[in-house]
């Protein structure tokens, strides 16, 4: 268990999201708070809206109604580039397929995240190299496509935490890994978040990983009847 402050870093209220031309609510959450450095895991059946929730928190999608605050800022009240800048500075993301920039080197992938952070450019190299060393990546100039899957996962984690975000959103980060590597990868992600004091919201299908988190929510439990909302 980690040390947490009482201030919520993510605060969700009366959140509703319905895909265009759909009758069914994809996400319904009455209230959810995640405190600073808290690590929670979200589970649920396929299609229950876990990834959609993460995209809503990241401000990549707009809710049909309700609010999501990150660090006290209503993400969806920010328009255009302000929201993008906010996301770059406060939210890190890790994807199932890592979504690394191919054609770029390992360190360039980390730089790509730092480009949009508040960290001065002259400090980027030092920050990136320190992070890669911490995460055990000793080939900073290797091309992404030349790395093993496990190494790519580490780079994805490094990129997500590089800008010292308030919250890291992980969308099935171990789904592409063998079970034995999945535990190690999850250790890596959780440790990285703890080291910078970032909250972690992780979506997973793997029951073996649930106990590693401070809190567990089944998305279906957050609302009983989606059609009745």
């Amino acid at each position: 268990m980690s040390m947490q402050s009482t201030e919520p870093v993510v605060e969700i209220k009366s959140l509703r999201y319905r895909y265009p031309r759909s009758e069914r609510w994809a996400v319904v959450i009455e209230a959810l708070e995640i405190k600073s450095a808290e690590q929670i895991v979200l589970t649920g059946q396929s299609g229950c809206g876990k990834s959609t929730l993460l995209h809503l928190i990241a401000g990549l999608m707009n809710p049909t109604s309700g609010t999501i605050k990150v660090q006290g800022t209503n993400v969806h009240a920010l328009r255009g580039s302000k929201r993008d800048r906010f996301r770059g500075r406060h939210i890190g993301m890790v994807f199932q397929t890592f979504q690394l920039l191919h054609g770029f080197t390992v360190v360039e992938n980390v730089y790509a995240s730092l480009m949009f952070s508040e960290l001065p450019r002259r400090a980027h190299r030092e920050r990136a190299m320190a992070l890669l060393e911490t995460l055990g990546i000793n080939r900073p100039d290797a091309r992404i496509q030349d790395l093993s899957v496990g190494q790519q996962q580490r780079v994805a984690v490094a990129r997500a935490v590089a800008c010292a975000p308030s919250v890291v959103l992980a969308d099935e980060p171990t789904a592409a890994l063998d079970p034995e590597f999945a535990i190690a990868a999850m250790d890596l992600l959780q440790d990285a978040c703890r080291s910078i004091g970032a909250a972690l919201i992780c979506v997973t299908h793997a029951p073996s990983l649930i106990e590693r988190f401070d809190r567990h929510h089944r998305l279906e439990d957050l609302v009983l009847d989606r059609s009745a909302v």
């Binding site: 999608m61 500075r89 979504q99 920039l101 054609g103 770029f104 480009m115």
Partner: protein, 419 residues
């Protein structure tokens, strides 16, 4: 070191290097073609004007002034209708010429034209305005059967002082010509280059030319084995094909003399510089077609940039979505794609200049070797700059649609795992 937008763009181009290089090449060819056409256009006219030198009036019996200028000054073909030398002598007494030079064309040496003329050709005629003749070696002809060789002709035929040559009757490309093998000419001088059509000609005295033709006439009448000297020439043998003339600096007299000569139906009178100007007015119509073609090629290169970037957008959709997740705004990714097309335009534009300069040198070399005139396709620096800027502008325009696709990339959809 940190990552910048520039790094992202160059990295993206590097990852699709083959398509990028081909696109740059397409732009370079289009831009180069355009540059070459524009520069050749002005250089060609300059070169033709240069070839008329300080001749104010060209008199002949050709069908028209253009044929007269092309044949007598640019050696396009042998002039058809001769002028008796006695007519020439009468003419120069009737008008206040500052100088006149009789010329006779009709013979050639291995494809190079041979002009019969007088010493005045080297004394009064300037092949390019303000540029007098000078010798690379030897001297001007002083006696019959001496020949002075233009710089290009000397180079092509490897002629040097003391060489003995024989001429062929007829213009370089004429049918039915024959060899004047019985008369050997000695090379006594090689001229310095003048960057005009005269560089590819050989020059000898009028008397030499007349003796060749008189010998043909006499041989057909008297049979083989005869000899012909200057004493055997009749008035009918003494023929010329053109007269270079100048009134000097008296403009009013020039207008008056031109008017009087033109009113005489026996003469074809040309003002060489204005005839060349007229020629280029006619040529400019063709020129505009070529220019339109170059613009069409430029447009097609713009489309190829569009297609290359558009096709790459499918591969780059995911990369753009990742950049958006990391904090890049829509406008920033729009600018990244636009920057890429601007880089393609810039590289293509400058490579095009390189191609145009190289091709210009090749074309110039060929023209000099074959036609004798020097066409140096150059533009003022701001002309080159304008073409490069136009290329960049066109490339940016072509990049707008792919940039809009990047701008409108749906992040969530683009990040969905494949399969």
């Amino acid at each position: 070191m940190a990552l910048s937008d520039w790094n992202i763009v160059t990295c993206s181009m590097r990852s699709r290097w083959f398509s990028t290089v081909l696109t740059i090449l397409t732009v370079a060819i289009a831009s180069g073609l355009m540059t070459l056409l524009i520069s050749m256009r002005s250089a060609g006219e300059d070169s033709f004007r240069r070839g008329t030198g300080n001749v104010q009036i060209l008199i002949s019996k050709e069908p028209g002034p253009l044929a007269s200028v092309l044949n007598s000054m640019f050696y396009a073909d042998a002039p058809g209708n001769p002028i008796l030398y006695t007519q020439y002598e009468e003419l120069i007494l009737a008008y206040p010429f500052a100088w006149t030079i009789p010329t006779q064309l009709g013979d050639s040496y291995r494809g190079s034209p041979v002009m019969g003329t007088t010493e005045a050709f080297f004394e009064s005629f300037e092949p390019a305005m303000g540029q007098r003749w000078s010798l690379a070696s030897g001297s001007y002809f002083a006696s019959p059967f001496e020949v002075v060789v233009g710089s290009a002709a000397a180079k092509v035929h490897g002629l040097k002082i003391g060489d003995s040559i024989t001429l062929e009757h007829g213009a370089p490309r004429a049918m039915g010509g024959h060899d004047h093998g019985e008369f050997a000419f000695t090379v006594v001088g090689v001229l310095d280059p003048t960057a005009t059509a005269h560089d590819r000609a050989l020059f000898t005295s009028l008397e030499s030319s007349w003796i060749l033709h008189a010998h043909d006439r006499r041989e057909s009448r008297l049979g083989h084995g005869i000899t012909t000297t200057i004493d055997d020439l009749t008035d009918a043998d003494r023929q010329i094909t053109g007269i270079y003339a100048s009134i000097g600096s008296r403009k009013a007299a020039l207008v008056q003399v031109l008017g009087m000569l033109r009113s005489d139906p026996n003469w074809t009178v040309a003002s060489p510089s204005s005839t060349v100007g007229n020629l280029f007015t006619v040529v400019s119509n063709i020129d505009q077609v070529l220019l339109a073609m170059a613009i069409a090629v430029m447009c097609s290169s713009g489309i190829s940039i569009l297609v290359a970037l558009y096709n790459s957008m499918e591969q780059r959709r995911r990369q753009i979505a990742v950049l958006r997740v990391l904090g890049a705004s829509k406008m920033r990714v729009f600018n990244l794609v636009l920057t890429e097309s601007a880089i393609i335009g810039t590289l293509g534009g400058f490579a095009g200049l390189g191609l145009a300069v190289t091709a210009g040198k090749v074309v110039s070399g060929i023209l000099h070797a074959r036609v004798g005139i020097v066409v140096e396709p150059t533009l003022p620096m701001d002309g080159y700059l304008m073409i490069v800027l136009a290329t960049i502008a066109l490339s940016c325009l072509a990049g707008v649609i792919p940039a809009l696709i990047a701008y409108r990339t749906e992040v969530v959809r683009s990040l969905r795992p494949i399969g």
